[in-house]
């Protein structure tokens, strides 16, 4: 936790006065206001969120030698297709092994069927080096053992192809938890290293990865590995000298699994916005032992440039009220960015799952007045949105247009996982994502 405090000390001053507060765990932050227990509204009811299968949409693109085979139903296939849009002109590197009546009735041996499909598929796609078997709601309900299946197939296919398995089912996982499960599965097969290194955990766009890599190099930090790597068969190593730097707030299970491999988690806010990026880098630099002067010399110009770029959007967002519906677990770090660097007023910050260990450092930076909600009862939550009439509501695509029709301005949240938003160079892009709907509403005179 001290690293976090360190990381935050010299963060960019917030764009509007945003009182920091004492986190429930009791760690004091410099300049913090009196201790206020974290208010979390826990709700249960209809959830309007994606399941973990959705992560396949970005994971399969990051790892171009991997194939994701969902073992499930036509619904699973339809979900991924709908989430991905109908825009990909190539044979995709994901698919669904659809269970049929024959499988359920025991007329076919589901295990044998799955093996047959995998082998056929891999024959057709010699470019695939890693096959992920992805569990779904139906496969879990019927207790189809994909771990066993992976074992069986590995015996047959290794070393040409490695078969891994994880669950993306909607009864177990929400949206970005699919990535966490996939990376956790990968983490079990990472080679061990005793070299001192940083391992950045979380799927990042290549362009962002390159930017961070350049900064780490300038700081003299190397080697820096990324999980996932661009090729699934080029596995980073992990070990007791490995520092884990978490790029996404939703990969808690992966982080814990890697910690069990001996790696040390570097606590930090997430690299969203200038403040978050600096704090995240500072945490890494401190842990690595980079001299503060060098850290300043490398990051200050980048931070200053990014601050100037972000400032362009502050007039549009300052003082505007924000309501975030639960979606990706990115809500808390993003709310921190919007409140502190752009001066937005947070009405409610919803998250599908509040993993305190993962967002400790973020919660410290949130204004004391914020209402956090975990889980969902969508109808009641929409009642609160209607009562609050926020200036901007962040929500899923199933809700955005209906809310617009009620006169509310919305930002659809899935853009936040599909767009490069990490790091200094994307900080202004991230601000612009929230400013644009307000800009649009101001422009339209029809």
């Amino acid at each position: 936790m001290s690293v976090v405090a360190e990381a935050c000390r010299d963060a960019q001053p917030p764009a509007a006065p945003a009182p920091t507060k004492l986190f429930a765990s009791g760690v004091a932050v410099p300049g913090a206001t009196p201790v206020i227990p974290l208010r979390v509204l826990r709700e249960r009811g209809q959830r309007e969120v994606f399941c973990g299968l959705t992560g396949i949409v970005w994971l399969h693109r990051k790892m171009q030698d991997a194939f994701f085979l969902v073992v499930g139903s036509r619904t699973c296939a339809h979900l991924i297709q709908s989430a991905a849009g109908v825009m990909i002109f190539a044979e995709p590197r994901f698919g669904t092994a659809i269970l049929t009546e024959r499988d359920l009735a025991g007329l076919a041996d589901a295990n044998a069927e799955l093996d047959r499909i995998c082998v056929t598929l891999l024959e057709r796609r010699p470019d695939i080096t890693t096959l992920f078997l992805v569990g779904s709601c139906p496969s879990e309900v019927i207790k189809l053992d994909l771990a066993k299946a992976a074992e069986r197939l590995n015996a047959r296919l290794l070393p040409r192809v490695r078969v891994l398995n994880y669950s993306g089912s909607g009864i177990e996982t929400t949206f970005t938890q699919g990535e966490d499960n996939a990376l956790r599965a990968l983490s079990t097969v990472l080679p061990t290293t005793h070299e001192r290194q940083i391992l950045v955990v979380g799927c990042l766009p290549d362009v962002v990865e390159d930017q961070f890599q350049r900064i780490f190099a300038a700081l003299g930090i190397e080697p820096v590995q990324f999980l996932p790597a661009r090729r699934a068969n080029e596995l980073p190593a992990v070990g007791p000298q490995t520092l884990l730097l978490l790029a996404q707030p939703f990969n808690g299970e992966t982080a814990r699994a890697l910690a069990q491999r001996g790696a040390h988690i570097v606590p930090a806010p997430y690299p969203f916005g200038v403040e978050g990026t600096t704090a995240w880098l500072r945490a890494a630099a401190s842990a690595w032992g980079v001299a503060p002067g060098r850290f300043e010399a490398v990051t200050a110009p980048l931070a200053a440039r990014a601050t100037r770029a972000v400032a362009r959007y502050a007039p549009a967002l300052r003082g505007k009220t924000l309501f975030m519906l639960p979606d990706s677990q990115l809500e808390i770090p993003l709310a921190r960015f919007l409140a502190r660097e752009l001066g937005m007023t947070l009405l409610e910050v919803g998250t599908p799952h509040l993993d305190r260990r993962m967002v400790d450092a973020e919660l410290l930076l949130l204004p004391a007045t914020v209402q956090i909600s975990e889980g969902q009862h969508v109808d009641r939550q929409l009642d609160r949105v209607r009562a609050a009439r926020p200036d901007l509501t962040v929500c899923g695509l199933g809700l955005a247009n209906p809310l617009e029709a009620e006169g509310l301005t919305t930002k659809w949240s899935i853009e936040l996982v599909f767009t490069p938003i990490h790091g200094y160079e994307q900080a202004a892009d991230l601000a612009e994502i929230f400013a644009r709907p307000l800009d649009r509403r101001a422009r339209l005179k029809v």
Binding site: G45, R47, T54, R74, E101, D103, L104
Partner: protein
């Protein structure tokens, strides 16, 4: 188990959602996990709906499985009834709930709700979206009309007398292909014949509209995938005749008018009086298609090789239009609608073809690659295939995309629909005059292969929403056999050079023809003479 990369249809509960979302006062409770809520965005984003679909999901989780998931169903039904106050409640299960066997429909039935409850059985592991829509509509209609059944024997209704005839329009749904606009055109046609519309079901219908269905004299079965089972039941139970023709294309629209007029006892001349089949003037039809298709700039369209794939209704109609109204040659016809496979097989037979009945995207792709048509009329799936293969394409059928729900009125039924079709399907193909000018200019350094011409789709011209894909104007050669087989013949440098002199928009075909010619004759090396031998062998 069946490997699926892309799927033409969603699961059957999505079909049920389409019926619920089509109607004004029906609510659907789905016993389903949270991930299944993705389907809401199909309505709010593809159709840009300004309200949520009337669906409540139980969103049970793993931790609920040991507990009282049945209780979740009852709670959801109670909440939905209170919050949304529907006139009728549909209750069904998605694939996962089907496995845990809570019998959501029966549970809801047992709750003695103050509104009718329609329990839905939607076998997720054997049926698909269209079936689910048809089944839901059928169950809903039967439930609502259960108390109105006439006593046997049921007599087939005749032509009404003493009042204007009345018709129901059955089948248009949310997420259906152009339903929004097609029913306007069908209403217009019926209006011109003096036929009143009794009810349109399910799109924008109320439960009350469903209750009034028997007041009509006959049913227009507009989208057989969705409404045939209902229309057949209404025929059997109430003696209401139903239409067989779907009015897509000028010829089918004329046939439809004649059929409807006969069922209604109306004078078809009110519409057909101004139709002059076979007459080539601008005034020969209410559609511009017949004249535009005869305009000399359309000569170029003659004999273009077309592959057709979609739902059965649109695929069958498209094949007829392509052949009889645009002068194309249909080289392939297929459908993913297994329920109407027989009809598609019959239509294919009239084109001298064997129908392709499959819901396997890879099979369709292979068929297209082998046939190498000049135009693909298909779904968004085929648009992807065509794009990849460098073939022109227009979209004719669901599954739809946001581009298939344009702002402008864009029917494909009726005379106005035929106009839309003319623009949409001919646009991806090169327009006659410009092509021939192009042919002359092909060697011009300012007009190199990379610079697409204005006649190409991406440069403009009448494209209907979400529809056209340009053929690849690549300098490299699309669709050569070499892309697919390892044993393709080799080209001499002179042969390649000569091939490059062929305008880019026919070069792919020339290459393919030449290679096929060489393969068939065991010619290992393609020279300039092989190229011309092949040219002489194949029709232009």
């Amino acid at each position: 188990m069946q490997l699926t990369l892309w799927t033409y249809e969603g699961p059957p509960h999505v079909g049920a959602m389409r019926i619920a979302a089509s109607m004004r006062d029906v609510h659907l409770v789905l016993h389903a996990p949270q991930g299944d809520t993705y389907a809401d965005l199909l309505f709010t984003m593809i159709e840009r709906r300004d309200r949520r679909p009337p669906v409540t999901y139980t969103t049970f989780q793993a931790r609920d499985l040991g507990g009282d998931t049945a209780g979740l169903v009852k709670a959801a039904v109670t909440d939905a009834l209170e919050r949304f106050a529907p006139r009728l409640m549909l209750v069904g299960e998605s694939c996962t709930a089907e496995l845990i066997q809570d019998q959501a429909g029966s549970l809801a039935l047992g709750m003695n709700l103050p509104v009718p409850v329609v329990p839905l059985e939607l076998p997720a592991y054997s049926k698909k979206e269209s079936w689910g829509a048809a089944e839901t509509l059928y169950r809903l209609v039967r439930t609502v009309l259960a108390g109105s059944l006439p006593p046997p024997p049921v007599v087939r209704r005749g032509v009404p007398s003493g009042r204007r005839p009345r018709a129901n329009l059955l089948g248009p749904t949310a997420l259906g292909f152009r339903c929004r606009d097609d029913i306007e055109e069908v209403k217009r046609l019926l209006g011109q014949l003096g036929i009143d519309i009794n009810a349109v079901v399910p799109l924008d219908a109320s439960v009350e509209d469903v209750a009034r269905l028997p007041d009509a004299d006959f049913n227009v079965d507009l989208y057989p995938e969705t409404s045939r089972s209902t229309a057949v039941w209404l025929e059997r139970a109430f003696g209401m005749p139903r239409t067989l023709v779907v009015p897509m294309g000028v010829g089918a629209t004329r046939d439809f008018v004649a059929e409807v007029a006969a069922l209604a006892g109306a004078d078809p001349a009110a519409v057909l009086g101004s139709e002059r089949p076979g007459i080539a003037t601008a005034a020969g039809s209410r559609s511009r298609l017949p004249w535009y298709s005869r305009s000399v700039d359309s000569t170029y369209l003659t004999g273009k090789r077309v592959f057709v794939f979609g739902d059965a209704t649109h695929a069958i109609a498209a094949a007829r239009i392509a052949r009889d109204e645009l002068g194309f040659t249909v080289v392939g016809l297929g459908t993913y609608s297994r329920e109407l496979a027989r009809e598609v097989r019959d239509a294919a037979a009239t084109c001298g073809l064997e129908a392709l009945i499959t819901d396997d995207y890879l099979t369709v792709e292979q068929a297209i690659a082998e046939l190498a048509p000049e135009l693909v009329l298909g779904t968004q799936m085929e648009r992807h295939i065509a794009k990849r293969l460098g073939i022109a394409c227009a979209v004719i059928s669901a599954p739809i995309h946001v581009q298939d729900v344009p702002a402008r009125h864009s029917p494909v039924f009726g005379f106005a629909g035929a106009d839309v079709i003319f623009d949409t399907w001919t646009h991806p193909l090169v327009m006659g005059l410009e092509e021939h000018l192009l042919q002359m200019f092909r060697d011009d350094f300012e007009f190199h292969d990379g610079a697409a011409a204005s006649h190409l789709p991406n440069a403009g011209a009448p494209v209907a929403p979400g529809e056209a894909t340009a053929p690849t104007p690549a300098g490299t050669l699309p669709l050569g056999l070499a892309n697919e087989t390892g044993d393709a013949p080799a080209w001499t440098p002179e042969g390649t050079l000569e091939l490059q002199k062929i305008p880019f928009f026919v070069r792919g075909k020339a290459r393919r023809n030449t290679e096929r010619f060489a393969l068939e004759r065991g010619v290992a090396t393609i020279t300039v003479e092989t190229l011309y031998d092949a040219k002489a062998h194949f029709a232009r």
